[in-house]
């Protein structure tokens, strides 16, 4: 896919963008409020705001009915130049050059090709160097940027909030609205600051931060809110780590998750294909620097997590809030029917340690943990070691670019030498739509985002964990503490 440098928008009326101008006259605002305010097209009494969407990401699963809606109405996509499509959910992760065996998946994939051609939307198709999981390629292409609005028919769109964007998942009807108008009807959310105080200990990574938060607030704890992650533990994360944290905001029920942009953000974006260059880049960075929450800005709620006191986390149940420190035992139901139901499904005994619980499969991948730093973490532990022969380990890079980089860095060779299966890019066993799935009854330590019943295959049982913890489980053939290998 060829891409020319992006032109910065002219700013005809004023020297500064809307959010910077407003800052002079308004009360202190949070990052979310700044992005929200600068995207309201109109807000009439008795109706939700019409919110402008800068970037619309599209994939094969949640878009076909929306395109059909456009056809039925006889309308075009309003801004194909603000729309990017990719194939990720229902595609195979091996032999991608061959025809797709599953006829229903093949039809869906073909339908996205037809829709993109008919409506002039750029598509990162199978075989394209830009193809990959929608939430991996947006940042890689430099399309995800600070201060913009991003939507996709996918709940993990919250990932893009790592750049200080307002990014959230929408349903297919709303996909149609954005295709048709580049706008959405939205209501302002509550704000919640999530402060991770202190620096994490060795062996504790981004995934552990977010699993600890969700264990604390519960899977409905963020409903109606946009989370802003702050604190030293967030500042010291890579962009990939911040994406992991923001990605799972939805697992706490939040509308979105955000991290204020800083030099880490700008360094990540600087060499990406579509970002402005030269003086335009400098101007963009200057604008972005006005985005972080103002001193004295008020959040509707604040949650504080002692990051320095955290340990590697793992889930034991059937939703992402059912998590504990990996060294802890399986919890007692204590009369809680949800815990009882989850333990019955997981076939785990209350009070028994999780460490040592045999596993059948280890999956490293998904929009949560399939980026280069995730693969480096896993490879660092696997180097010179072998995957336990009882375990099937799959490593699925998030994009073709990640795959190429991991191969160039020798990570793929480490995975192969350890006995893992190194695949092509896609959502794979996170959502198990493409044939990559657990058999009924199997246990899997997975770096993905959901451990719902059957999520990774009907009857499959998922332990969510970080790439380090997953790699440790692969080596031991059972749930393991990665700090043993540091």
């Amino acid at each position: 896919m060829s891409r020319a440098p992006i032109q910065d928008a002219p700013e005809p009326a004023a020297p500064a963008p809307a959010w910077a101008r407003l800052e002079l006259v308004r009360k202190p605002r949070t990052l979310y409020e700044k992005v929200w305010d600068s995207h309201v097209v109109t807000h009439e009494p008795g109706a939700p705001a019409v919110l402008y969407i800068d970037l619309h990401l599209v994939h094969e699963v949640t878009s076909p009915q929306a395109f059909q809606g456009l056809r039925d109405r006889g309308i075009k996509v309003r801004r194909p130049d603000r729309t990017q499509a990719t194939m990720d959910h229902s595609i195979p992760t091996q032999n991608q050059a061959l025809p797709i065996v599953d006829p229903i998946a093949a039809k869906q994939v073909q339908q996205l090709r037809i829709n993109c051609r008919e409506f002039d939307i750029p598509l990162a198709d199978l075989g394209d160097e830009s193809q990959g999981i929608v939430h991996v390629i947006g940042p890689e292409l430099g399309l995800t940027r600070p201060g913009i609005t991003v939507v996709c028919g996918d709940s993990h769109t919250s990932t893009h909030g790592a750049f200080g964007a307002l990014a959230f998942g929408i349903g297919t009807t709303e996909v149609e609205h954005v295709l048709a108008t580049q706008c959405l009807l939205q209501r302002r959310s509550k704000t919640c600051e999530v402060r991770f105080a202190g620096r994490v200990a060795d062996g504790v990574v981004a995934k552990d931060l977010i699993l600890a938060l969700i264990a604390e607030i519960g899977i409905g704890g963020g409903t109606g809110q946009v989370l802003e992650y702050t604190g030293e533990a967030i500042r010291s994360l890579s962009m990939e780590g911040r994406m992991t944290v923001c990605n799972m905001s939805i697992e706490g029920g939040a509308r979105a998750g955000m991290v204020a942009p800083d030099d880490t953000t700008y360094e990540f974006l600087a060499d990406k294909p579509t970002v402005p260059k030269g003086a335009e880049w400098d101007a963009a960075v200057a604008r972005w620097r006005s985005l972080p929450s103002d001193e004295g800005a008020v959040y509707d709620r604040t949650v504080e997590i002692d990051a320095a006191g955290l340990e590697p986390m793992i889930t034991w149940g059937t939703n992402p809030g059912m998590g504990v420190r990996v060294s802890q035992p399986v919890p007692e139901p204590n009369g809680n029917p949800s815990v009882r139901k989850a333990l019955d499904y997981m076939r785990l005994e209350p009070g028994k340690p999780l460490i040592g619980q045999p596993v059948d499969v280890v999956f490293i991948g998904s929009c949560t943990n399939s980026r280069i730093t995730d693969l480096r973490q896993a490879a660092s532990l696997l180097q010179g070691r072998k995957v336990d022969p009882r375990v099937r380990m799959m490593v699925v890079p998030g994009s073709e670019r990640v795959r190429a980089q991991a191969e160039a860095e020798g990570l793929a060779e480490i995975f192969r030498a350890a006995g893992a299966d190194w695949r092509q890019a896609g959502c794979s066993m996170c959502i198990a739509m493409n044939g990559d799935q657990l058999d009924s009854g199997q246990y899997c330590v997975s770096t993905s985002n959901r451990n719902f019943e059957g999520r990774q295959g009907k009857g499959g049982r998922t332990f969510l964990a970080s790439p380090l913890t997953a790699a440790a489980a692969a080596v031991e053939g059972s749930v393991a503490d990665p700090r043993r290998y540091l």
Partner: protein
């Protein structure tokens, strides 16, 4: 979308909290490019045994579910993914409303866009409803959108929240897209001075 007004219907109780969209409609059924036909796979993995036969212990396979139009479920219904296939599957089965104490944001939005009414009640009311449903298999309730009232078997009316805009759209069977389209001059004006220029096509 058909207008939603007032209706009475049979209640199907599902006393489970945090019902996620992967249970409502498992991902392997999302390969369809249609909206219709998802009702038969609603709650598929709870509803059918490994051999494909109906699981007699699951409520949708019991006589009381026949003709049921109101699903009664535990807290935080519809959490998880953005798949609009979840309300499509519920509507496909015949449900017209879901009662719970709370709904996940995206699921709630998707319901409102499709004429499936999310009825949020307080914890005590939900408990009362589950109690009533367990003692009366034929339990019927009346939902009136115009007055935002759910009428309980005791005759007590409980009000439920819904924003005026969504309510009006539901009552009229109205289309939210046309509301946005009518604001096109404002959208065009906004675009001409939007701060961040992106171009996916270049």
């Amino acid at each position: 979308m058909q207008p939603v007004t007032s209706f009475s219907g049979k209640v199907v109780p599902l006393p489970i909290t945090d019902v996620d969209t992967d249970q409502i409609i498992p991902a392997r059924f999302l390969k369809t490019i249609e909206k219709l036909g998802l009702g038969e796979n609603l709650f598929n993995d709870w509803r059918y045994l490994p051999d494909g036969g109906p699981n007699p212990e699951f409520v949708l396979n019991q006589p009381r579910a026949a003709g049921g139009t109101i699903l009664l479920a535990g807290d935080n219904f519809g959490c998880g993914s953005s798949r609009e296939h979840a309300p499509w599957a519920l509507l496909g089965f015949g449900f017209r409303a879901v009662i719970s104490t709370s709904f996940a944001d995206i699921f709630r939005n998707n319901c409102l866009k499709n004429g499936l009414l999310p009825v949020a009640v307080d914890v005590a009311t939900l408990a009362e409803l589950f109690e009533a449903a367990s003692s009366d298999e034929g339990l019927e309730l009346t939902v009136d959108l115009a007055s935002q009232t759910l009428t309980l078997p005791s005759g007590r009316g409980v009000s439920f929240p819904i924003d005026d805009f969504s309510k009006q759209c539901l009552l009229e069977g109205g289309d939210q897209l046309s509301y946005i389209q009518q604001r096109m001059p404002a959208i065009t004006a906004y675009e001409s001075q939007s701060a961040e220029a992106l171009n996916t096509l270049a």
